[in-house]
């Protein structure tokens, strides 16, 4: 074969990326509230649906990305290179965005780039694809963007997630931000959000 087929990106690149960007923005502004996320159509690689939408929206050649083991394939690397030009790095500490496929382990939050006191915005944002955003153990959230408290129940987070998130919260203004995706929706968990009850 002469040409490699990396798969299609957004059907309407500008509008679709804008719509997805808006959803991500709303998700981080309203932690715990699920936002409808456009899922990109083609399912030719391991990387699909919600992760593709976020990848195509947020990454470019200036944003190193980290891929979880299930995603780190030749096909996915080809797709990322063809559509975004983003360098793929092996160490999550060097990545602006980390993408975790369903079933893969979330990298230890402390092993990611936590930003610096001067530039806390340079930390890693982790995008994790879960089994479902409902039906798991309930987490009660409090913090900016939440009127009083709100409850989320994502399925598939690691056992020690609450403790890890606690440690991440302590680092403020440093720390990582989290985007949870499943079933065409995204929930934002910015570093400013506290889990008050697990």
């Amino acid at each position: 074969m002469l040409s490699h087929d990396f798969g299609a990106g957004f059907a309407d690149p500008v509008r679709d990326a804008q719509a997805a960007f808006r959803a991500i923005l709303d998700a981080l502004a309203n932690p715990g509230m699920a936002q409808k996320l456009l899922t990109s159509g083609e399912r030719s690689t391991a990387l699909q649906g919600e992760l593709v939408s976020i990848l195509l929206t947020l990454s470019d050649h200036d944003t190193p990305i980290w891929l979880s083991p299930a995603l780190d394939t030749v096909a996915v690397r080809g797709f990322v290179g063809f559509h975004t030009g983003a360098p793929v790095v092996a160490d999550p500490e060097k990545a602006n965005f980390a993408f975790v496929a369903r079933g893969d382990d979330l990298p230890d939050l402390a092993s990611c780039n936590l930003g610096t006191q001067e530039y806390p915005d340079r930390s890693t944002t982790i995008v994790i694809e879960l089994l479902s955003l409902t039906g798991g153990a309930e987490l009660v959230l409090r913090g900016p963007g939440i009127a009083d408290t709100t409850t989320v129940a994502p399925q598939g987070l690691p056992q020690d997630f609450v403790a890890q998130w606690q440690d991440n919260r302590e680092l403020f203004p440093r720390g990582i931000d989290l985007l949870l995706v499943a079933g065409g929706e995204v929930i934002g968990l910015p570093r400013s959000t506290r889990i008050v009850e697990a």
């Binding site: 002469l2 040409s3 299609a8 990106g9 059907a11 690149p13 063809f82 559509h83």
Partner: protein, 151 residues
């Protein structure tokens, strides 16, 4: 840098060179006349961007950046699965997309595409090159020194 490319790749490169160099109007006419166009899906673009054009000058041939040029590109997949890429100077997105489809089609049926599109365009390019060279040659002035003042 020298890299080995197969004859097939060289032929494809030549076809893409011709498609990118051909006048937009001539290409559009050829493509319009081409029957049985396949349906295609856009993989990336068509979109415009800038590429840095580099030149070499001076005795040492040191490279320098001449300036940026506007380039349109498109990548498509035709119904039979072949993926084609098209690049051309300027902002003509339809032209870039047509080139991409022709490139994809050429991978399936090189003979027909070469005969109906590539070869006529190549003839056209060669002809216009010859015309321009002749026009330029007609106004050529040769300078030479007849006698140097000796002392």
């Amino acid at each position: 840098m020298t890299s080995e490319i197969s004859a097939e790749q060289a032929a494809r490169k030549r076809a893409l060179d011709i498609l990118a160099t051909a006048p937009a109007k001539a290409l559009a006419e050829r493509w319009h006349a081409f029957g049985d166009k396949p349906d295609h899906q856009r993989l990336r673009g068509p979109e415009t961007g800038l590429v840095m054009v580099r030149g070499r000058a001076g005795g040492g041939g040191a490279p320098f950046n001449l300036g940026e040029a506007t380039v349109s590109r498109a990548s498509v997949r035709i119904v039979t699965g072949e993926v084609g890429h098209g690049y051309c100077l300027g902002r003509d997105l339809d032209q870039a997309e047509a080139i991409a489809v022709i490139d994809a089609l050429r991978q399936r049926d090189a003979g027909r595409v070469d005969a109906e599109i590539i070869a006529p365009l190549e003839t056209l390019i060669v002809e216009s090159d010859v015309t321009r060279k002749n026009e330029t040659a007609a106004t050529r002035v040769d300078f030479f020194t007849m006698v140097r003042g000796d002392n």
